[in-house]
């Protein structure tokens, strides 16, 4: 116990009895090139079994000066680096708006099967039926979950899905014969929304949510006109609140010929509860790396499919995957076919269709982030309909539980039932000179990843907590205790917060000088 009373930073008692984190042995690790010694190579080089054919020396450059290391050098380097990171497998990661839930390990096994990992994207159709079948099925499942009519899996990430959605809306208006110039974006929408709209040449019309954090039909009606392509709405919104006027808003937008874009980043709250397609939403993107458990990978790769209503299907990117009946195998008797348990699978084939004259075109070089699609598909098949509905219920249960138990200690700007995340601010703590950032840094010392901070912008000093359904009550109780301790410390010992974090490898980093004099390579 004595050890715990003196930790880096010189603060006595900066470890609290309720902390789940402790300091431990990690390593310093130089850059790869500092470990390099001429003459090493960590790769098994194949035999030269054909004649050497030198290229014209005019075309040949110097060998790239990559580090020269042994295999153990490389393994130890990346192992040590990994130990400086915090992931979902390390601890609770309540990063609001990012849905940092558990990433099932079987999904990794499925995606790395050689038949998928070794599949070339331009294989003849008859040689990639398994991959096409998976794409087709996953599109059907996501259409069912969202209540939409058609899905494309091509977009590479959420923001790419937003772009796909905007391109769909743009192509739709072009087809109607009158392109529009503006798009409505509420202040509770995701930060990527305005940037996506700009890429399509739309001017953002920013509107404010009402006093209760919910968008009013009047605010939309006041700006919606026949030069406005539509509205981008995040539901549940970034305050973690359900936009209960969504149907009325959709009617207002539709009445003027506009379309409703739904940002589905927060789908984790509503699976099996409501279907966006039944609420008047025309196009919605999903983040498979949020709701559908594919790993976030330290920043990606993700996957951002979009789902659309029937009228928008013609505009989706090509190629589309279609399921068509195929002629029966002539070598098989009808009796054999009848006895075959896989009869359905034998009588259909999957094909890529390019002939879609109104399509926006291609969005990604091949078939989307297929490896990510395999993981999401595996998750859906593991959960089933009831399982996914339970996911949303428990995600909402966890968030409301945290909201109830922390609202005495932290200012809750919108005190109403939340969905899968809740938003506090630092208003109670600011009198002591403690900011959201200080509390975020301090919570690391308790063994938790900080929540999302300073987002959404609509709230000053926001602390956005999204526990997800995969955290147990016991972990959440620890988290609540930790946050309450931080609130206590903010009153009694604000210095310990301002100098936090104390346990991680590094203390707070100087971001200002990093940006002023950028050093971007070694």
């Amino acid at each position: 116990m004595e050890d715990q009373n003196s930790c880096r930073g010189g603060f006595e008692n900066c470890l609290n009895a309720q902390q789940t984190a402790a300091s431990g042995l990690i390593f310093k690790e130089p850059f790869l090139w500092e470990k390099s010694r001429d003459g090493r190579c960590a790769m098994s080089i194949p035999m030269q079994d054909v004649e050497h054919s030198p290229l014209d020396p005019e075309l040949v450059g110097d060998a790239p000066n990559l580090p020269q290391l042994s295999e153990l050098d490389v393994v130890r380097h990346y192992t040590r680096l990994s130990q400086w990171n915090f992931g979902v497998d390390s601890g609770m990661y309540p990063l609001g708006s990012c849905t940092m839930k558990y990433n099932p390990k079987t999904n990794e096994v499925q995606a790395s099967r050689l038949g998928f990992a070794g599949a070339h994207p331009l294989l003849d159709e008859d040689l990639c039926q398994g991959a096409l079948e998976l794409i087709y099925n996953l599109e059907q499942y996501l259409a069912e979950i969202t209540g939409m009519d058609a899905v494309t899996l091509q977009p590479a990430a959420g923001a790419h899905g937003e772009l796909a959605g905007m391109l769909t809306i743009h192509a739709y208006h072009a087809k109607q014969g009158h392109q529009r110039t503006k798009i409505i974006i509420p202040d509770t929408a995701h930060g990527t929304n305005p940037a996506s709209a700009t890429l399509c040449g739309y001017q953002s019309v920013n509107i404010h949510s009402g006093d209760n954090g919910i968008l009013t039909p009047e605010a939309v009606a006041a700006v919606m006109d026949e030069e406005t392509a539509g509205i981008m709405i995040t539901n549940p919104n970034t305050l973690g609140l359900f936009e209960e006027n969504i149907k009325e808003i959709a009617q207002i937008v539709h009445a003027k010929g506009g379309l409703v874009y739904g940002d589905g980043a927060n789908l984790n709250a509503i699976m099996g509860i409501v279907k966006p397609g039944e609420l008047g939403i025309d196009v919605i993107h999903l983040n498979l790396h949020k709701t559908f458990t594919t790993p976030h990978g330290g920043g990606g790769p993700g996957s951002g499919p979009i789902a659309v209503v029937k009228a928008l299907e013609p505009f989706l990117p090509v190629p589309r995957v279609e399921k068509i009946p195929c002629s029966p195998n002539p070598n098989q008797s009808s009796k054999e076919r009848g006895n075959n348990l896989n009869n359905d699978k034998n009588s259909y084939k999957y094909t890529l269709v390019y002939d879609r004259p109104d399509s926006m075109g291609r969005l990604l070089t091949f078939h989307g982030h297929f490896g990510i699609l395999v993981r999401a598909y595996s998750y859906i098949l593991s959960m089933g309909a009831k399982g996914l509905t339970d996911v949303s219920k428990l995600a909402v249960l966890n968030a409301n539980y945290i909201k109830e138990l922390l609202k005495q200690d932290f200012y809750l700007p919108y005190d109403r039932p939340c969905m899968h995340e809740c938003v506090f601010t630092d208003k109670f703590q600011s009198d002591n000179g403690v900011t959201t950032l200080d509390m975020a840094k301090r919570i690391m010392d308790y063994g938790f990843h900080p929540p999302t901070v300073y987002f959404p912008l609509v709230v000053h000093g926001a602390i956005m907590i999204e526990p997800t359904e995969t955290e147990s009550k016991q972990t959440i109780d620890q988290f609540i205790h930790a946050f309450k301790s931080v609130a206590q410390e903010a009153k009694e010992n604000p210095e310990i917060l301002k100098s936090a974090p104390h346990l991680p490898k590094l203390s707070r980093l100087d971001e200002v000088s990093a940006a002023r004099k950028p050093v971007l390579r070694g």
Binding site: F31, M43, I45, A63, L66, P67, L69, V74, Y78, W84, N85, G87, D89, S90, Q110, R113, L114, G115, A117, G118, A119, P121, L122, C128, A131, G158, M166, H170, T192, S196, T198, Q203, F242, H296, G298, G302, M360, R362, L364, T365, F366, I380, L381, S382, V391, L394, L397, N398, K441, M444, H449, E469, P501, L506, R508, L509, S513, P518, L520, G522
Partner: protein
């Protein structure tokens, strides 16, 4: 899920809540049941019946199902697939799947909190360093989606930099899918792409720029950039220095792309040849083909464009105790700060694959990358010789790296179908990508000339025996 508390109730392994937990938590919230948690959703919005999805599978049922689906694909591991065209089989050392599976890398997100993300940050910083070393450029982003999207965004940078310009000139030998992506990205903004034709030797014909010089319309003012791919879609190596010279004379940006990163283990570096922005796909650097994705979009440039680049950058700095460390930097370019004025909307990138490429470059090193690159060229040259012996013609004479076009003898298409049954996929038919293109310098349409043309390639994964077997079978 409140339905049963009996021994018959089987908990779903990803959901930790016991019935007792749920009861206690609902009490705190003041709700009677889980369904009461949604009072803000109007009752008429709620769905009345359960979603229609397949019934849940156990882990073991899932294994069987996915194995069956995977077995319906002609994997490069169990077949000889002689198709490159933007996705290449290369040896992937065992340390890559092993290290990249470390959950501290895999289950973290964007390093917004640098104190507990130094592993991702240093790893990406090292990637940025090594990829600029490979390409002879000065700065690299933390990654993009793939080459096609990175190229489209690079062209948008050029269009933003040169006010009033509406057009870019792009080689028709840039991957056809990448040109499709460019069209998709350009359509709403009204930008246009002029496609530069090919010369008879299989490289980009730059004479367009001579002609517009002579013409009175002065169309060049409208062009913001010239983009070529090298090695190009036909596998041929472009003269980047000459492209740069043309770009410089017209004061427009020179952008180059690549789909085969290992080519730069051997070829002159595009940055050193003068390319302003170099984009590419890093799939060859240790990343599984995985039916085409996720790959690794690479975007690098000279320093002067650093504030124009889309996506994340990792920079070096110090912490309060004076220790060296890393942060995401120059984020004022990005969408979450600049919203509608951002340089791009990209948020999530392909970071984990950038980490893979970093591990690959560290493993292969200076010695290995040159050896493997040379071996790719040697194998491809051997394949070319063997195919020529088997009666195939080589229509484009420019030097290539590991990929080249052949004109197949009559009747090859039927033979190719037969070979599929033996686990051999003999090249990619490219006639569909160039249906009506003009392919000679006199401007005569010779669209039919790419009929029966196939793109072949070889990498270090093909043995001499594999190649000889292919040549024997296609004869």
């Amino acid at each position: 899920m409140e339905s049963s508390n009996s021994m018959n109730y089987l908990p779903m392994r990803y959901l930790p809540h016991t019935q007792q937990d749920i009861k206690e938590m609902l009490t705190v919230i003041g709700c009677k049941s889980l369904d009461d948690l949604f009072p803000t959703i109007p009752a008429e919005y709620r769905i009345k019946t359960e979603m229609c999805l397949p019934k849940p599978m156990t882990e073991w049922e899932l294994n069987a199902h996915i194995s069956e689906l995977a077995s319906k694909n002609a994997s490069s591991y169990s077949n000889k697939v002689f198709i490159g065209a933007g996705s290449y089989p290369h040896h992937i050392p065992s340390i890559i799947p092993y290290l990249i599976s470390r959950s501290e890398f895999m289950t973290a997100y964007t390093p917004y909190q640098p104190e507990i993300s130094q592993g991702t940050l240093q790893g990406i910083y090292e990637f940025q360093t090594m990829i600029t070393e490979l390409l002879g450029t000065e700065v690299a982003t933390a990654s993009h989606y793939d080459c096609g999207t990175a190229l489209a965004e690079a062209l948008l940078i050029a269009l933003r930099k040169k006010k009033n310009s509406k057009k870019v000139a792009v080689s028709s030998l840039v991957h056809p899918h990448h040109r499709e992506i460019i069209r998709t990205y350009f359509e709403p903004a009204g930008y246009k792409m002029v496609e530069l034709p090919a010369t008879v030797d299989g490289t980009t014909d730059l004479s367009y720029f001579d002609e517009i010089n002579k013409s009175s319309t002065g169309g060049i003012d409208d062009i913001a950039a010239i983009a070529v791919q090298s090695p190009n879609f036909f596998g041929c190596i472009e003269d980047i220095a000459q492209v740069k010279a043309v770009a410089e004379s017209k004061k427009i940006m020179c952008i180059t792309s690549f789909t085969e990163a290992l080519a730069y283990g051997l070829l002159k570096k595009p940055g050193q040849l003068g390319a302003d922005i170099v984009v590419g796909d890093g799939q060859s650097l240790g990343i599984a083909q995985s039916f085409g994705g996720p790959g690794l979009g690479i975007m690098t440039s000279s320093k002067q464009y650093v504030r124009d680049l889309p996506g994340r950058l990792v920079g070096r700095t110090k912490d309060r105790r004076g220790e060296d460390g890393f942060v995401l930097t120059l984020s004022t370019r990005e969408q979450h700060i600049k919203r509608e004025k951002a340089s791009s909307n990209i948020c999530s990138n392909n970071g984990l694959n950038a980490m893979i490429a970093g591990i690959y470059m560290a493993a292969v090193g200076k010695i290995g990358i040159r050896k493997i690159a040379q071996l790719n060229h040697d194998k491809a040259m051997f394949l070319k010789t063997k195919l020529e012996e088997a009666g195939f013609e080589i229509p484009f004479k420019a030097p290539f790296f590991n990929e080249f076009v052949v004109k197949a003898p009559e009747g090859f298409a039927a033979k190719r179908e037969e070979l599929k049954k033996k686990g051999i996929v003999a090249g990619l038919d490219i006639s569909k990508y160039y249906p009506t293109k003009k392919f000679d310098q006199n401007g005569k349409s010779c669209g039919q000339e790419l009929k029966n043309h196939y793109l072949f390639f070889a990498t270090e994964v093909f043995s001499k025996d594999d190649i000889e077997m292919l040549a024997k079978e296609v004869k």
